[in-house]
Symmetry: C2
Subunit: 212 residues, 2 copies
Amino acid sequence: MSAIRLLILGAVRQHGRAHGYQVRNDLEFWGAHEWSNAKPGSIYHALKQMAKQGLLVAHEVAPSTAGGPPRVEYEINDKGTEEFFTLLREALSSHEQKTDVLSAGIGFIVDLPRDEAVALLKERIAGLEQWRSGVTEYYTPEDGPEQLGHIGEIMNLWVHSADRGAEWTRGLIERIEGGAYTFAGEGEPFVGVLADDDPNPYTTGPHPEDNR
Amino acid sequence: MSAIRLLILGAVRQHGRAHGYQVRNDLEFWGAHEWSNAKPGSIYHALKQMAKQGLLVAHEVAPSTAGGPPRVEYEINDKGTEEFFTLLREALSSHEQKTDVLSAGIGFIVDLPRDEAVALLKERIAGLEQWRSGVTEYYTPEDGPEQLGHIGEIMNLWVHSADRGAEWTRGLIERIEGGAYTFAGEGEPFVGVLADDDPNPYTTGPHPEDNR
DNA sequence: CAGGATCTAGTCAAGTTTGACCAATGACTG
DNA sequence: CAGTCATTGGTCAAACTTGACTAGATCCTG
């Protein structure tokens, strides 16, 4: 699973209908270009692909300013919405995800009911713990850990990452259970996109060095 | 930078000369199929590509067992070796890497002199710290952190990951400075590949559930 | 008000990754 | 000893990603 589809479906969903450049701007607004592979090519490709697969409906739109390139607006439909929630739930609950997927999931976590969000995160922790015990057991040589040499450091790194990931997830659960943020069905949702006619505040701003 | 080239160059380098299937087995032996995208297609593609680019020399080999498919052996040359060390140094020193790249770097860290390994890891920590201060400063809204809503959790996650990554790296540095493992120029190197005629001990063994 | 920079909106070729598939050989099993 | 299954060694199409490029409109600046 890649993060880009979740991000794009989420972006289109918040607008109801959007063209590629709007999606691009939203992702940049969320900082997604720093922690995911959200580049123009990927975004436009994913939009086309998902339209082809019936998750989005493409509308050709007459260029607003005469002479500009032909634009395509994408509208999310029921199938797309369903896919969005499937991806979202998987992003949050599965430990077999890279950080970019989890990040995207966090970005849309408030689109779920609070209870479900917590349940999914707990599932994630359970998965991490199970993976940890499986992996440590399987890769611990019988004749002492030194048989692995420095290769053992790789496993050490992954186990460490899993432990810290679980730790962080527990913290998040606590904050959510403590009442933080506004979830689905709890009133005015958090506004996470730029208004359709806003100028993009992040173009060519002073950036921290780009990282991932 | 993707981990696969580093992994493959490293594998070929330890054999001097190897064909695709041997590389595949080494990577599996190292557990790389669990934490990187080392799948047959990627491996064979990367081998061909690097041969095309002059990092490896391809030798067509008569099938050992008559009738088998034609095999290609790849031999690493000076350019490939240089590339290997370039990638290795970057994998270890740059914080802008996914965990699979770092893992691959750790896997070959003993191919460097001990001093250099430590220096590269320290560079990594410095980068992480600088990134952290840049990012927290840039994404901290003036009107209080609550302006970000749950989106702030994404940054929180990344900062947390960076902190834990630095912590782990410090631990590794300590172990290395404490004399662990055998580095380049320190005598008999750690044997990290399967002997050319060994049976593959990892085919169809009981695996922990596959993860990444 | 000319000229450059930026914004809007997107395309494209080349490279990479995925997952399924293929065929010969050897090993096991009833 | 036929059938099945695993191993060896790899190919391929389709999907995805990357990075560079395009082109008109608009803003800014001297």
